[in-house]
Structure formats: structure tokens, C-alpha cells
């Protein structure tokens, strides 16, 4: 079994995303006796984040701090992380399959002339080999992949591999790596934030998603209320986004976010294959739709055939009674 695995951490608004801790758990699974080294990039002090990685199972953390790392660019992060990989010569690298993970890891893999297994949802260890399970054909099938030569390099889908228990008694070294970053050819001029504040859709445990059946922006209000009482987030089908009931930032499906919550409540969603690709691995699926023939009922664990404007408010009341 390998000796050392790097886990590349990722923060959003200064807070590490949960998938970073899941990546540590994944690395631990592959490499139970080996050393796990976290890597963090940013322009600010990264010590607090580094400590968090250690609490969640990293043995030590290398931070790279540079003005050019304020926002993610593949060129900046590439120049920051490659020297760390060079120093550490790990046997493997694990990162979250997020917008940044998807963008960065093929670059690193190309530079290192190595394989890369993207978007794994499960890891099994057979003998001394890690076997990665990943969905293909929009989740209609799964493949098992192994690395045949070189680094064990993989990205993991958020919300699938549980993070380890946070343990504040853990300690480890945090070292800073000085790097030169130059010749950045892609410049971010502006970021238009659309993703809603609060619960990150790809990491939410409960998602209430609305489709065309919700009929209007106004119609989403009860969905927000239900999400609120359940401590979840609101998502949408492409149809609802196209109809401008909500922003594309909420879109779940092949084009939008791929989510794996514990509970997914599909409200007024017909269940097109492109939508299912984004949510069919959810642990429990509830469908509320007035058309009993809707495809969504084929993937749902529980279904209510009825008018969502009647059902959702009643559901809110019923959930409130639990509290």
C-alpha cells in the first residue's frame, strides 16, 4: 500500500468545503497506514483551514500563499501545487469533483503524465489496489476503475464518501511553501454571484427541487419554506430555470449540479433523463406531481399524486409538528 497521499483542499468564502474532509476520508480508506498531507492555496492566512484539515484526519498540511491565488485559476493553482507535488512525491492525490477539481486535476494529470479517475462515488480496496466506482452514462451504469501505472489520482463526488469524525485533539505540522507564480494568461475580471447564500446545493443533505409544475417564481416560495423547516436547500430542473422561475445556479441535472442528498423531494418535476442524471443517486427520493404517469415516479421511493400547491403547505405543517 502506498506511503503518502496528498489531499488538495478547497474553500468557498474562506471556509473549507465539506468535500475536502470527504477527500481526506477517501485517502484514509486507500491508505490506512500512510501519511496524509493536505495542500491549501490562497492569498490569505490559511492556518485555520489547515488546522481543520488536521482535525478531520490529515497528518500535516502544506499551504501556499500568494497574491495570485486570491481567486482560482488553473494556471495559478497549477503553479502553486506542482512544486508541492514535486517536493512530496506522493503515491496518490485526491480532490473533490467540484468546479475547481474538474478544472484543475486534468491539468495536473497531464503535467505529471499520469492517469486520473474522475468523479468517484465509492472506493473499495482489494488487496493492495484501490478500486474506484464511478457513474457513467448519466448514472445509468457504473464502472470500476483502477490505476494501472503511476499515481493513484482521483476526484470524488461530493456527499458520497462520509468524512471522518472531527477530532480537535489531533495535531500536525503546517508548513508554508514559497512559490513563484508568473505568466497567468487568463484573468478573471469580474465574478457575478448567483449561487444562493447558505446551504451549498452539492453538499446539502436535504433538497427540495421544483420543476415546470411550480409555474412561477412565486410558486417557489412554499418550496423555500419547506427547505427552511427541513434545513435543506432549494434546487430546480432545467425546465424551471428556462422558464425563469429561478436562477440557473439552482439547476440540478446533467448540465447543472449533480447532487446526492439523503432526501430529495421533487416537486412538479417530470423526471427527464437529464434531470435524473443529476439526482438519481439520492438516498431517498420523494415525488410530488399531479401526473401519475410522470417518469419521476419511476425513481421515487415515495410518491404523492396531487396538486403541489395543496400538498407542499400541508407537508410544511406536518414537518413543523415534528419539532
Amino acid at each position: 500500500m502506498s506511503d503518502k497521499l496528498l489531499v488538495i483542499g478547497e474553500a468557498r468564502d474562506g471556509v473549507l468545503r465539506n468535500v475536502t474532509f470527504e477527500a481526506i476520508a477517501a485517502a484514509k480508506k486507500i491508505n490506512s497506514d500512510g501519511e496524509i498531507v493536505g495542500v491549501l492555496c490562497g492569498n490569505d492566512d490559511l492556518d485555520t483551514q489547515a488546522q481543520e484539515m488536521i482535525y478531520y484526519g490529515a497528518d500535516r498540511v502544506v499551504t501556499v500563499q500568494h497574491d495570485e491565488l486570491e481567486a482560482y485559476t488553473s494556471e495559478g493553482y497549477g503553479q502553486a501545487i506542482l512544486p508541492v507535488i514535486d517536493d512530496e512525491s506522493p503515491n496518490g492525490i485526491i480532490m473533490g469533483h467540484t468546479a475547481i477539481g474538474k478544472d484543475l486535476t486534468p491539468k495536473l494529470a497531464s503535467k505529471l503524465e499520469t492517469g486520473l479517475i474522475s468523479d468517484a462515488t465509492e472506493i473499495e480496496v482489494e488487496g493492495d489496489k484501490a478500486v474506484f466506482i464511478r457513474p457513467i452514462y448519466s448514472g445509468k451504469a457504473f464502472e470500476k476503475k483502477t490505476i494501472s501505472s503511476g499515481l493513484t489520482f482521483a476526484t470524488i463526488r461530493p456527499n458520497n464518501i462520509p468524512a471522518l469524525e472531527r477530532d480537535e485533539s489531533r495535531s500536525g505540522d503546517v508548513n508554508t511553501k514559497e512559490v513563484d507564480i508568473a505568466n497567468i494568461r487568463t484573468v478573471i475580471k469580474e465574478v457575478i454571484r448567483k449561487a444562493s447564500e447558505g446551504v451549498d446545493l452539492s453538499e446539502a443533505n436535504v433538497i427540495i427541487a421544483g420543476g415546470r409544475g411550480v409555474k412561477s417564481e412565486e410558486g417557489f416560495k412554499p418550496l423555500y419554506e419547506l427547505a427552511d423547516v427541513l434545513g435543506g436547500a432549494v434546487g430546480a430542473s432545467r425546465g424551471a430555470c428556462d422558464a425563469e422561475y429561478c436562477d440557473y445556479a439552482l439547476q440540478i441535472g446533467q448540465t447543472g449540479k449533480v447532487v446526492t442528498p439523503d432526501l430529495y423531494i421533487a416537486v412538479g418535476i417530470s423526471g427527464a433523463i437529464q434531470h435524473l442524471a443529476g439526482m438519481s443517486n439520492s438516498k431517498v427520493i420523494v415525488a410530488i406531481n399531479k401526473d401519475p404517469e410522470s417518469n419521476i415516479f419511476n425513481v421515487a421511493d415515495y410518491g404523492i399524486v396531487g396538486d403541489l400547491f395543496d400538498v407542499v403547505p400541508k407537508l410544511i405543517e406536518e414537518v413543523k409538528k415534528l419539532k
Partner: protein, 257 residues
């Protein structure tokens, strides 16, 4: 402008998936241009119409990939290249494809390379960024707008719903996200013309590559279908009772509340 599109054929989105002996059954399957690559073809044609130049569509595939290349030519691409690996390679991976493309592109002086942000079959999204890196050009993934003015390139990039306004310069590789454009349907005259447009066929030998140069770095050891889900329960009775039952099921049976 010298514009290239990376194209892959994929199963039609409606295709049922069957597995035998750890392989996806592909007998009689209908193939289409990977939907995200269709945005790339459309965008290439639009940029050519605006700035002049030539659009070349490149695929690493097999003999049957000609059909999707002809479709791209019918949409308005000028030339197609099929790098046929059928006789030489058993199992490739993203390293394999990127390496073949890298070798192909080494003497091409591409200004703009467009690809889909992901293929809907294997969905790794690696080949575009890998290729750009190996060619030493910048790349931007999941773009939803592209504006070229001289050498300056202005791009909207979708980042999990947020939009990044990015500026870079040619040459560049971009991967296309839904929302970038509405791909056209090939017209009848387009289809007629496509039959006569040049389609070059290459093998890895023509690129001076040996099998071991492009040997996959990963192995697919098995492919399986997800366990058949038990048929869901559609609740019955008065809506009030259904809602009560649902909450009780979620709390006590599914234990998610």
C-alpha cells in the same frame, strides 16, 4: 482564424443501457454527436462566420465515427479528421486520447480549439484541459459566452451557477457548457455539401505513435448496472392522510428526518 473542434460520438441520450461480461452492449445502439460537442461545433461555425478562417472537426474514434463527422460538416464545418484507433488500441483512457490529439496538434498552429465540457457517456471532462496543458496553451472550461476581438478573448465561465467574466488571448482551448448557443440542424443543402467535404482518416502510425506511447494509465475492471430500485410507493387516500403517512415514513422507515 484556424478553428478546431474536438468531437466524440456518444450513445443517444434515450438509449437503454445493457451490460454483458462487464462491457456496455453497443450492438445496434444509436449514436449522436456528444450534446456538449454540438455546442462546440455551433460556436466554431459562428466564430468563423464572424472572423473568417476554417473549421476542422477532429475525432479519435472508429470507422463509424464518420457519421457524426459528416453531421458536423453538414452543420457548416469545413474539414474533418478521423483518427481511427480501432485496429491499434483495445482500451484507451483520457491519457490515451489526449496524447493522440497532442501529437496531431503539434504542427497545426490552432488559434482556437473548442470541445464539449463533458461527454455524456464517460463524463470525465479531462481530454480538453489535458490537451491544452500538453500544447502549452491556456484553457477555460464550461463557457457560456465567447467574444473574440483581434487576439483578445472575452469569456463567460459558469462556475456552479456563478458567472466569471474572464479575459485571455489566442490561442486558447475552451470547453462548452449548455447555454452557450443553440446548435443548428444541418440543412438539406448542407447535408449534400457535406458528402464532398474533405474527411481525412489517420491511424496512430501516421502520427508516428506506437501503441505503448499511448497506453492507458487506468483500467476498467468492471461495468455494472445499478441495483434495480424497488418500485416506489405511491401513497393513497386523502391528501392530508398521504402527507401524514409520508412524514411518518420519512421519519421512521427511511430515517431521513
Amino acid at each position: 482564424m484556424n478553428i478546431y473542434v474536438l468531437l466524440k460520438k456518444t450513445f443517444d441520450t434515450e438509449e437503454k443501457i445493457a451490460v454483458s461480461n462487464g462491457r456496455i452492449e453497443d450492438d445496434g445502439a444509436e449514436y449522436i454527436i456528444n450534446p456538449y460537442d454540438e455546442y462546440a461545433v455551433e460556436e466554431a461555425i459562428k466564430q468563423k462566420d464572424a472572423h473568417g478562417g476554417e473549421v476542422t472537426v477532429v475525432t479519435v474514434g472508429d470507422e463509424d465515427s464518420e457519421k457524426q463527422l459528416r453531421t458536423a460538416l453538414a452543420m457548416g464545418a469545413d474539414k474533418a479528421v478521423l483518427i481511427n484507433t480501432e485496429d491499434d488500441l483495445e482500451d484507451g483512457d483520457q491519457f490515451t486520447t489526449a496524447k493522440i490529439l497532442q501529437t496531431y496538434f503539434e504542427d497545426k498552429e490552432a488559434d482556437l480549439i473548442l470541445a464539449g465540457n463533458v461527454a455524456i457517456d464517460e463524463a470525465s471532462g479531462q481530454v480538453g484541459p489535458r490537451l491544452a496543458e500538453s500544447l502549452g496553451i491556456p484553457y477555460i472550461t464550461t463557457i457560456t459566452a465567447l467574444e473574440i476581438d483581434g487576439d483578445t478573448v472575452k469569456i463567460d465561465k459558469d462556475v456552479e451557477g456563478d458567472v466569471e467574466k474572464i479575459e485571455t488571448s489566442l490561442p486558447v482551448l475552451v470547453t462548452c457548457q449548455q447555454g452557450l448557443n443553440d446548435p443548428r440542424y444541418p440543412s438539406l443543402p448542407g447535408i449534400m455539401k457535406a458528402k464532398k467535404k474533405p474527411l481525412e482518416e489517420l491511424e496512430i502510425d501516421d502520427l508516428d505513435l506506437e501503441e505503448e506511447d499511448v497506453e492507458a494509465k487506468t483500467n476498467t475492471v468492471d461495468i455494472f448496472l445499478p441495483p434495480e430500485k424497488e418500485a416506489g410507493r405511491v401513497l393513497e387516500g386523502e391528501i392530508d392522510d398521504q402527507v401524514q403517512e409520508l412524514v411518518s415514513l420519512l421519519k421512521n422507515d427511511a430515517k431521513v428526518l
